[in-house]
Symmetry: C2
Subunit: 329 residues, 2 copies
């Protein structure tokens, strides 16, 4: 009896869906454009059509459907609240809509939580019980695996490390996301250049500072550009301090870092490690800690969405699920 | 069959021990001086003697002994690492020492975690599943109840909100404890007075600024002293921002605040609430949130230590234990 899972990745640009086996290997994948600007209903129809495409011939083989969606959303009810990158989506009961269509167990999780599940079942933290996944890209998202279960909190709003307060001084208040994510770094570079700093970044964007982004900053830093290196260091410093707070709160075994900003390279990780070691209360917090890059690339959301089904929304013990996967490999 | 528990509070100044019934009512209590400066072994003997004093006549009635001790300590092994207020204590295997003497289940927890257990079984958060206890006094301690269980982390070092990074600006790095605890507030008052600020606090300490503490600041603020009020506000602002970070990470139902600084009064709580409402991502984090003063006073550590036994070190579901307690009342 070939039992299969369906994983769906609902993104602002594309929708992806796949059929996977119980070891989270992808058997078939399909994708399409989201086109959220065309309205909620057409997007919902595209999601349904894509799921039908990857549906097993015998529907009784299907264990369930997991969906990775942009937050904020309520994973307990499967309601998508109002994601900035899905215009027109407001309190959409996505889990119920899909349950009505497919008559199968449906789990919906926010993309960072889903990625955490993927990393702990098939990625860089496979088999660990205390794991924090952080993605640093246009925002800072995160998912916490506490004692083998996805940490959600009272109504599923927990695990949002990007919104930790990191700067509170002279009336100014700022979060990890507002210090370390891509747009913050681009703003920082732009402000310095407008203040007269010299940098190869000006030429790299042909003088149009509006084109500055984390990728350009990373490439300039790799080329030895001083301003770019300062900005890369600033990002690593704040990610490192954010990790210090997380170590004292969750005492994890592994920190997994993904997202575009995490591609800044070895120097970025070295600075993070140095910051953690300097500012943690004592070495028992980091002596046995692993800080590692994400192990899964493009398929992370689809794998994590399928893992949502295997772990009943992250509430079954993921390390037991991870151990089971090895049997299938 | 009268089943009883023993709770022990090992503090820097006093040791307290009590026999309690299964509803966590205190049946007999004893205390003695810690006198840690006389050496480790004499203090250990005083702990043992005090436990013998509250031991039930029939030792088979004893369900176990719980100990609240100052951190850092490892709750999984019961080893007290090196508390600042217990000179001479270094990697002391307290649980094993007591197990050898009493042949009973022994649980050791750090004082803030133990207080969290007390508040969720018999105090201000009785019956809630997602609770954070914060004590603001000479330091900032905390304990997290996540989904009915005490959050410990990989080796029991989690739940330490006092060490969250709150200020990182211009190279300066500071934690919640270094901003909001009593000594930080006294330093702040002293610095302002030495800079020439006028305040009734100068007279209150007879001109000896070394005598400034949180209690004097609180009394001066209640009398309308402007500097004292600013410092009380500073403390509330940082406690509020710390809570903002905790809401995004744990999504709790209740925040319980104890400790001397929390006696600053209603204005302090109002400022905390205003800060939370201003800086949380959206109102779903605080709409149904309760921020309340601790419900247990002097006996909190003894009650929590006994609750350690009832909850197997905080790892059994405390809400089920709390529900059981009502049966006994």
């Amino acid at each position: 009896m070939p039992e299969v899972l369906i994983g769906v990745d609902l993104g602002g640009t594309r929708i992806r869906a796949a059929r996977l086996d119980k070891a989270l290997n992808i058997l078939q994948r399909e994708d399409t454009l989201t086109l959220a600007h065309e309205g909620l209903q057409p997007t919902i129809e595209r999601i349904k059509a894509l799921i039908h495409k990857v549906m097993p011939e015998d529907k009784s083989d299907l264990l369930g459907i997991g969906v990775s969606a942009p937050g904020p959303l309520n994973p307990l009810t499967g309601v998508v609240v109002a994601p900035p990158n899905l215009p027109g989506w407001h309190e959409v009961p996505l889990a119920q809509i899909l349950r009505d269509e497919f008559d199968a167990p449906i789990y919906v999780g926010n993309d960072a939580n889903v990625a955490a599940l993927a990393e702990v079942t098939r990625g860089a933290a496979q088999g660990y019980r205390h794991v924090i996944f952080i993605t640093v890209s246009t925002g800072v998202g995160s998912g916490v695996i506490y004692d083998g279960r996805l940490l959600l909190g009272k109504v599923g709003l927990g695990g949002e490390a990007g919104h930790m307060i990191m700067v509170a001084d002279g009336g100014q208040v700022s979060t990890l996301e507002l210090q370390a994510a891509g747009p913050a770094l681009a703003r920082r570079a732009r402000a310095a250049l407008e203040d007269g700093a010299t940098s190869i970044m000006t030429d790299m964007v042909g003088g149009d500072l509006g084109l500055l982004d984390a990728s350009i900053i990373g490439r300039a830093a790799a080329d030895g550009d001083e301003l770019a290196q300062q900005i890369v260091d600033h990002s690593a410093f704040f990610v490192g301090l954010g990790i210090v707070s997380l170590l004292h709160l969750f005492n994890p075994e592994v920190i997994v870092i993904g997202g575009g900003v995490s591609k800044f390279g070895d120097g970025w990780y070295e600075k993070i490690n140095a910051t953690v070691q300097k500012h943690a209360l004592d070495d028992s917090y980091w002596r046995d800690l692993k800080i590692v890059p994400a192990g899964l690339a493009g398929a992370v959301s689809i794998i994590g969405a399928a893992a949502l089904v295997l772990t009943q929304g992250g509430q079954a013990d993921v390390t037991q699920v991870a151990a089971t996967l090895d049997l299938y490999d």
